[in-house]
């Protein structure tokens, strides 16, 4: 079964981080991704660019309207995601707990739809 791990973090806090801290975070994520891959749990994943680069698009009558900014304004923003393969929810939770995002920020675990 596949699960999505959504990493929420404060962009403001991240911007204030020192160069070393940023490099450390990057290395932690790289190592985590590597372990996911080695375990055969990795399906997909990426960090997301700053939410100020987001646009919201709606086209109710086929006519698109585009608004700048993320859909939800909040103190913490979606900063990245993984899609992983796990035996069950506890397996996914165990992976989420090892994610660097769980230590510093917040990770939401969502089961993917089964078609």
């Amino acid at each position: 079964m596949q699960y999505m791990l959504l990493v929420y973090r404060s962009e403001a806090k991240y911007k204030d981080a020192t160069k070393e801290q940023k490099a450390e975070t990057f290395a932690a994520y790289a190592a985590y991704t590597e372990i996911l891959k080695k375990a055969g749990a990795f399906v997909a994943g990426s960090g997301l660019q700053d939410s100020s680069l987001a646009t919201v698009v709606r086209a109710p009558d086929g006519k698109p309207t585009v608004l700048n900014g993320p859909y939800i304004e909040s103190r913490e923003q979606l900063g990245g995601y993984y899609i992983i393969e796990a035996a069950d929810l506890d397996g996914a939770i165990a992976w989420a707990a090892r994610c660097p995002g769980a230590r510093q920020d917040t990770v939401e675990v969502r089961p993917l739809m089964v078609y």
């Binding site: 069950d88 929810l89 939770i93 089961p111 089964v114």
Partner: protein, 421 residues
Amino acid sequence: MSQGDDQSAIKTAEAVARRSYGKLVAILAARTHDVAGAEDALSEAFASALADWPVNGAPLSPEAWLLAVARRKMIDAVRRRRVSAVASGHLQLMAEELEATASLVPEIPDERLALMFACAHPIIEPGIRAPLILQTILGFDAQTIGSAFLVSPAAMGQRLARAKRKIRHAKVPLRVPDRADMRARLTAVLEAVYAAYTEGWSDPAGTDASLRNLAEEAIWLGRLIVTLLPKEPEALGLLALMLYSHARRCARRSPAGEFVPLADQDPALWDEGLIDEAEDLLVRASAFDAFDRYQLEAAIQSAHVVRRRTGATDWVAIERLYDGLCAITGSPVAAINRAIAVAQTRGPAAGLAALPVLALGSRLVEYQPYWAARAELHTRMGETAAAREAYDQAIALEIDPAVRRFLQRRRTESFGQYRTT
């Protein structure tokens, strides 16, 4: 087929339903994570049993018979639905299991604990965990659970269905967690069982048959957990705690139905057998040297029942145990009980000082025992005005008429010496 055989087949079915319901649901749902589907299939299998057994006689292994029929019903149900790749995988596995078990009378494993852990999984909202366990392990219907937890049956049914959907769609595992997760997860299971017990206990008059049943069912679940996890000290502690309170159930009301506080209860009315069993459990638990909430609460109960042998309550021990409980739980309820113990060891003024301070917006304002304790301590101090005010608050908050009458009596007594009635 004679009437007697009919009756005995039905009795067998009922007995199996009582004893094996949760066991069979757990096995049926283990692979599919579909608790609701398992319950449906099982209830169909019970219906078949009631039709078949009186005619053909009860089978040698009723559990295996029910399991086989329920599995067939589940396979049929999956076939009726749109068959996805995942589902057909299940189908094959289930069919294979069916083949494997059809030829012999299998030893049916007890997976109820795994089911309990699924029901108390962190993804399930805490308030619905106890009802869900009652339903899946004991086969309670939403009507019964709803009335026990003061929720409409329709709303309870919806919440239970939602919880089961979560188990299925998020694929909550039906297994006993490993060491790393055990502590937190077991806490949730024990909390749910204790919640069921306290719901049952909340009917002290014992008039509501369904609620009294609930306390006994919770003890039954507690025994089941201890049987399956004999080395978990908090599981032992919880069962001991429930047995101590249950031992006193007959002493809580006078023959006339009046409330009798613990201090005035006649120890002769306490159930010696249950108390002895609780003491043994507590000793077993203490061997693990991992004291926590339930063991402490059970130990407090143990210090109270010392009175049955010595005639006196060990308030010093009780105060010390409440110190520990307050430190672990930070619970204001524990703090109130501690203050009552302090009043016994060091006098009412010290007890009043030990009562938690009412912060603005504190839930304690609505907590009857807080006001009753305050009233009692003010009375002992001779502060009748303050006592009367606190009694009024307590009386206004109490729903149980017997307890209300008791508080009213105490209120009258508290200033009786200044006034003729």
